[in-house]
């Protein structure tokens, strides 16, 4: 069975499991919703300054719940020891990595799109073609986020304090994603012309490639006993 097919089989398993018990999904989505609402109260909704801050608000609402999602992806594997089941199998560790990243990426994008819709409604943007650029940013940013996040979530899966440690480890590392995503979104939504959007997209792609590669190489060391 070739590697690509195996990757899909692994991801499909995660998607199936999540579909049948969507609690994690729902809590993640709800948390994001809550963040959007809280920011509504925290900042003056009418002011121009708030308007300019909205890309930042969107990404806070996407990233913090995203961490919960990542934690959960390995949480679920600890219950019945299924992670050991995967490690014991002859499956290549790199394939395990890509399978998880693929599943996590799908989850992140699905929740993110939902959050984006709510965001557009709350902050009074329009569902124009321009939004597709934001979708692209979300898609690209989620790859890098899922890549590094999967490595760390796997590492922390056996540690008690994993829920607070994952953001501590992950957030400094994904600062380039945060910069690129927020600024890219700003270019699309706030600024008159999107002059530098391509720069930010390039940064996202570079980040994704570098950390997909490093994650692939290092995953062996992260799931070992």
């Amino acid at each position: 069975m070739n590697q690509v097919a195996l990757t899909w089989i692994l991801a499909e398993k995660d998607l199936k499991v999540a579909y049948r018990s969507p609690q994690a999904f729902l809590t993640t989505g709800f948390f994001a919703l809550l963040i959007l609402v809280i920011f509504n109260f925290a900042f003056d909704p009418g002011s121009q300054a708030t308007r300019e801050a909205t890309p930042g608000i969107l990404w806070v609402a996407l990233l913090f719940p995203g961490i919960i999602q990542l934690n959960h992806s390995f949480q679920a594997e600890m219950e019945e020891g299924t992670l050991y089941g995967l490690i014991l199998s002859p499956t290549d560790r790199g394939v395990l990595f890509f399978g998880k990243v693929l599943a996590n990426w799908v989850f992140l994008v699905v929740v993110d799109l939902f959050v984006l819709v709510v965001f557009v409604i709350f902050y009074n943007f329009s569902f124009s073609v321009q939004m597709l650029w934001v979708v692209l940013i979300i898609v690209l940013a989620s790859v890098g986020f899922a890549a590094v996040g999967t490595v760390f979530a796997a590492m922390l899966s056996s540690i008690r304090t994993r829920e607070v440690l994952l953001p501590i480890l992950l957030f400094p590392i994904i600062i380039p994603i945060i910069l690129a995503a927020v600024n890219g979104t700003q270019e699309v939504l706030i600024l008159e012309e999107a002059q530098f959007l391509h720069r930010w997209l390039q940064l996202l792609i570079a980040f994704d490639v570098i950390f997909l590669a490093s994650g692939f190489l290092l995953f062996d060391y992260v799931v070992a006993e």
């Binding site: 018990s21 019945e80 020891g81 299924t82």
Partner: protein, 228 residues
């Protein structure tokens, strides 16, 4: 801290080895090393003509954790693992295995709804699906009631008759003795006793076990005394 030391163990094809020992003796670590889950810090694991590293597809592992996905059905679990292990004609083999374990009727139910006994049998099915040369069982009787234990022992008996090589860790001295062809007792990381089943008297065994575990020196001196 060393979990296992000075361990030299040879297992032949068709052996059914029962491993006894108190908690913390290092039995699980030993099994994990054979399975390739942990690397030994020195020495190595060798399969007849192949060393342990590439042998993961030849090993089946059962622990007290089921390695099953509660949200997936019985057959979905088997098909998933079958594919991971590269089993051909996965669906047919999975079906056959379910019949063998008496789980055919439950195959479309989520594993989360299974009883403990059913889960253990499905776990065994999972471990056997890829026809492993070696089956490793780590305290599989945990949590099983009398009925479940009886059923499980019957299944293992079937495996023994098929001539499978099995390593069984258990606290259940009775079941272990019933099934095994060889016995090993591990304590504080070391093998303190080895014998073939024929050399042992089942009724005496519990006493022998406590002697072995309470001190190697004690055991040696008692054997010497009895010989004299």
């Amino acid at each position: 801290m060393r979990a296992v030391l000075n361990l030299d163990l040879e297992v032949c094809t068709g052996d059914f080895l029962a491993i006894f020992g108190p908690n913390g003796a290092g039995k699980t670590t030993l099994l994990k090393m054979v399975a390739g889950l942990t690397q030994p810090t020195s020495g190595d694991i060798q399969f007849t003509s192949q060393d342990g590293h590439s042998g993961r597809e030849r090993v089946g592992y059962v622990s007290h954790q089921s390695f099953l996905y509660n949200e997936l059905t019985g057959i979905e679990n088997l098909i998933f693992y079958g594919r991971l292990y590269g089993v051909g004609e996965v669906r047919e083999r999975a079906d056959a295995m379910l019949v063998k374990m008496g789980l055919r009727d439950a195959r479309h139910r989520k594993v989360g709804e299974y009883s403990r006994g059913m889960k253990q049998r499905l776990t065994l099915a999972r471990a056997l699906l890829h026809e492993p040369d070696l089956l490793l069982l780590d305290e599989p009787y945990t949590g099983l009631d009398q009925h479940g234990s009886r059923l499980f022992t019957e299944v293992l008996q079937g495996l023994k008759e098929e001539g499978r090589t099995v390593l069984l860790i258990t606290h259940n001295l009775g079941a272990g003795l019933e099934l095994c062809s060889r016995v090993v007792i591990q304590n504080k990381g070391e093998l303190v006793f080895q014998a073939s089943r024929r050399q042992l008297d089942a009724s005496e065994f519990e006493r022998l076990y406590f002697q072995a575990v309470e001190g190697k020196k004690n055991l040696e001196s008692r054997i010497q005394n009895s010989e004299v």
